[in-house]
Amino acid sequence: MAPKDAPLVIAGRSYTSRLLVGTGKYRDFEQTRSAVLASGAEIVTVAIRRTNIGQTAGEPSLLEALPPEEFTILPNTAGCYNAADAVRTLRLARELLDGHRLVKLEVLGDPETLFPNVVETLAAARTLVADGFDVMVYTSDDPIVARQLEDIGCAAIMPLASLIGSGMGIVNPWNLSIIIDRARVPVLVDAGVGTASDATIAMELGCDGVLTNTAIAAAGDPVRMAAAMGMAVRAGREAYLSGRMPRKTYAASPSSPAGGLLTPEPDTRA
């Protein structure tokens, strides 16, 4: 049997699963919990929003379905378009989660593309790191910005594979590879994964993990896709650790013996 993989270490804490999942867009909290359990994820993202005043009596809450004692809750800043809003949101999250430090920073630039605003992201990252947060940061797949975020002290770099919610998969594996090669903190693909094979490709490139939400929640059977995603991340990770065979233009090396054929091979040299 192959030697056991090392755990994923983020901000000094070890995780067995390299799949992180979001909790948005599910039918209800029961389905959310079932999908999270099927995925095997230990880190789950949540958003921070105003309570529905007057409509919350007796209503179940997300953190009752996914208790912080059972999962590592990763509050995000989804929906924030500037550094100040993102910092404010995560400070509230820290109070909400009893001083919890691990957060996901994302500052968007545009409601149509949801592309990150890296200038505001860098500014927010500086403030949050100085304030003691362990920042996992969503960013573009720009290797220079990734390096700057790392230099600021972010705990993990999370470049997009393609736009949030697009399901377009890994559109620029070359940029991701550069980021992965040069990073000294974990690199996780965040956004763009559409199906299990996308997660596998990300892991085969050498990503330390994958974060996905819509690919699971918007699948026909979210719980089944969650399980598929867990397997896909493990498969990609194992393939990466194995070291893939070199690519060859011609299949010059058949898998079966060349000798002992009933009829000689044709001479293809015209």
């Binding site: 105003r50 005043i53 919350t56 509230l92 909400l96």
Partner: protein, 67 residues
């Protein structure tokens, strides 16, 4: 009575109400919420002692599903 802006909407409240009492009024006692008053986070340990004042801008947030 005083008027505060609670989660973006005007709301009339009794004068002298503590934030803990406001949470109880909103049936949020024991729920995982965070409270911000005039841009400053009010620590859970302070909710019973901080009282709402006329014109306060209050935000009460929870964790919801998200990616």
């Amino acid at each position: 009575m005083i008027t505060v802006i609670l989660n973006g909407a005007a709301r009339a409240l009794e004068e002298g109400l503590s934030l803990a009492a406001l949470l109880e009024l909103l049936t949020l006692t024991g729920k995982r919420v965070a409270v911000e008053r005039n841009g400053e986070i009010v620590a859970r340990s302070q909710l019973a002692s901080v009282r709402v004042a006329d014109g306060d801008r209050l935000e009460i947030v929870v964790a919801v599903g998200g990616g």
